[in-house]
Symmetry: C2
Subunit: 122 residues, 2 copies
């Protein structure tokens, strides 16, 4: 189906196998994009700090702003990103809106990241 010319590094046949294998196991473009998009969300220390607060309790926006010494607006912008990516969920109670973790993957992912970093230090 795909007759590409392969001429790098000399060894031709091995590389053809690789290309086939990669084509089979590589997720679709849209899924790769979604994955990268998800990890981008974890790639900001403000959002990580928000998640660490939510590990401990369900809190409202102004509490987060207070706890992290940041503007309510900045927090709100970040919460929107976290919510769009389904890492947190929200619940209204009067004037306040309370945020909490949406699912367990959040914690697993952060824990794994932390393990990776700790290992580096050895």
């Amino acid at each position: 189906m795909n007759n590409r010319e392969i001429e790098c590094c000399g060894e031709t046949h091995v590389h053809e196998d690789l290309l086939e294998l990669v084509n089979k196991t590589m997720p679709e473009e849209t899924k790769l994009y979604d994955l990268a998009e998800l990890f981008k969300v974890f790639g900001d220390s403000t959002r990580i700090r928000i998640l660490y607060v939510l590990f401990e309790a369900e809190v409202c926006v102004c509490d987060l702003a207070e706890a992290l010494h940041m503007t309510q607006s900045a927090i709100s912008h970040q919460l929107r990103i976290l919510k769009q990516n389904k890492l947190v969920k929200s619940r209204r109670e009067g004037k306040s809106i309370f945020y909490s973790l949406a699912d367990s993957h959040v914690r697993t992912i952060i824990d794994q990241g932390r393990e990776h970093i700790e290992e580096d230090r050895i």
Copy 2:
């Protein structure tokens, strides 16, 4: 030790407890920064694609460029970032340099991310 005034959302005492709890469980600034830095590495679809290739085999730079239809230079730049963050390791063999996964966290993290995305679809 830290006598901050808390005046948001009315309920004063609950929030003081929260602040204490957060101060106890929140990792240090540098660790939060490192964590975010690590996830930033996963937050690019080119790097994710590179990692997916490395899930299957140890490959050289020109193979990666070939498999992902990208410039050798672009791949090389991204490999540097992956290596700096200890997600991949390299080994020289003649003129070629072969890259492979550095540890198992890489796969766990990507798998968890994928699970999270799949769940969203339900």
